[in-house]
Amino acid sequence: MAGPAVLDVNNVEVVYNRTVQVLRGLSLQVPQGEIVALLGSNGAGKSTLLKAVSNLLSLEDGDVTAGAIRFRGDDIAALTPHGLVRRGLFHVMEGRRIFEDLSVEENLTAATFALTGRKLPAADFDLVYSYFPRLHECRKGLAGYLSGGEQQMLAIGRALIARPSLILLDEPSLGLAPKLVEEIFAIIARINAEQKVSMLLVEQNAAVAFAVANYGYILEMGKVVIDGPVEKLMRDQDVREFYLGLGGAGAERSYRDIKHYKRRKRWLS
């Protein structure tokens, strides 16, 4: 793994409502300037991990009960959520979470609060509009009326305004048309390459995630079950079968041929 880690998650456990344990001793690193993909089935705890990292768990009555999370060397437990954002960690949350009754431009303005207290030049709206020309066209319109893809663009656009050093991206492809997924991932790759922003990318669509990421983790039941460089993961038999839908011969399986019985994953047995 190259470069020092921007984000270092060490043996973290998370409990909701003081009863439901979701993460069970999870560790991962995001090296400087790289994209790390995090895969896992529904409810594995991916979003929970991201919320733990951006310190937003308390809003949902969740707690980090063990382990430590360090962002550029600082323990995040000592920081407020907005304080973290102002230090350069930006979380693009699941479900986009744009402000529906603000205009597109006001949504971007809201993100300028991330620059408060930082010695940086004024917010660069044009940079966002250059990545997402579509947003420029409807900048005066209410964000609530944007289509799903446009809302996702806006959510990533807000991250760009904040000039982060690490972006946490939670399922950016959710509900997007294939072409838009392509566009969004192209822009993710560009932002990473041009702005040198590190990213932790949560995705269900393993194929596209692997296309942009350097390293991957696979999560089940709150624990990492496999990790490794993307090339290595793509050769793993289980990953191929359960995440990429490739049959034994390497060809894509058809949904029509799926059998009624359940197969078992080797890493769980």
């Binding site: 895969l39 896992g40 089935s41 529904n42 409810g43 009326y145 944007l146 289509s147 799903g148 893809g149 446009e150 399922e171 959710l174 509900g175 997007l176 048309a177 294939p178 072409k179 838009l180 997924v181 392509e182 566009e183 991932f185 192209a186 790759a189 560009r190 390459a193 041009e194 269900q204 393993a206 194929a207 596209v208 692997f210 296309a211 942009v212 359960f242 995440y243 990429l244 839908g245 894509e252 058809s254 949904y255 029509r256 799926i258 009624h260």
Partner: protein
């Protein structure tokens, strides 16, 4: 293979203020088959579903269902006639258990009135028990959700919630089942489960299916017909194979289909 249409959408137009969500949309849904509606985000797919269910009222055009016009028929009556659906953003009722959510689906087919309900022992009880038995035996077993029937829906994982939504729609005695993005946010394995259920509903229950979905792998595999919307207009329709090869569809919706190549090119350029 294509039977007579159970749902006929003709010339439907819908606008919100200045936004034209649908313009002059016409297509048929053949009975007993799976029809998929695809199209870019904001193309009007959900709006189309909403118009069919009667939540939106179109400015022009008409919809016929099982040979009868739906003009002037309000949403609840449409549901009663057998138009069942699930929602893009899960719309389960969080204050109820899974069982009650499913029971709710049968609402339109039940007869209990306020007085029956206040006294309960009698007609209301009989009806409730019949419903319970049917749901248990046909739906809960079929969808394999016995273990969660008394759970409150808020605590369920996303995939299970989607399944409960499907169960509720099945309780509505559907003649046509409209699924809005049934596998969004699911990984390959979960998608396969859902695809299996959808195929079974079609085959074992004989219910016509109309679905919106962005997962092209699944859509192209399991649907019999595909309708493509773009900017509120139908730009193509036909078998999956026909649509897949359509240049307009590729340009508007499908894209190159190879994110990997694009990413590699970007990385190379930046280096």
């Amino acid at each position: 293979m294509v039977a007579s249409p159970i749902l006929e959408v003709s010339g439907v137009s819908l606008a919100f203020g200045g936004v034209r969500a649908l313009s002059d949309v016409s297509f048929n849904v053949p009975e007993g088959a799976i029809t998929a509606v695809i199209g870019p985000n904001g193309a009007g797919k959900t709006s189309l579903f909403n118009t069919i269910s009667g939540f939106y009222r179109p400015q022009a055009g008409s919809i016929r269902f099982a040979g009868e016009s739906l003009d002037g028929v309000r949403a609840p009556q449409r549901a009663a006639r057998g138009l069942a659906r699930t929602f893009q953003n899960i719309a389960l009722f969080r204050g109820m258990t899974v069982l009650d959510n499913i029971k709710l689906g049968r609402h339109a087919h039940m007869r209990t009135g306020v007085l029956d309900a206040l006294f309960y022992w009698g007609r209301a009880q009989k009806e409730e028990l019949e419903l319970r038995a049917e749901i248990e035996e046909r739906i809960i077993d079929f969808l394999e959700i016995q273990h969660i029937r008394n759970a409150s829906v808020g605590t369920l994982s996303y995939g299970l919630q989607k399944r409960v939504e499907l169960a509720r729609a099945l309780a509505m005695r559907p003649r046509i089942l409209m699924l809005d993005e049934p596998v969004a946010g699911m990984n390959r394995e979960e998608t396969e489960d859902m695809a299996r259920f959808i195929l079974d509903v079609k085959e074992e229950w004989g219910v016509t299916i109309l679905m919106v979905e962005h997962d092209m792998g699944m859509v192209m595999d399991i649907s019999d017909r595909v309708v493509v919307l773009n900017f509120g207009q139908v730009i193509a329709s036909g078998t999956p194979r026909e649509v897949q090869g359509n240049d307009a569809v590729i340009a508007a919706y499908l894209g190159s289909g190879d994110v990997g190549a694009i990413a590699r090119r970007i990385k190379a350029e930046a280096a």
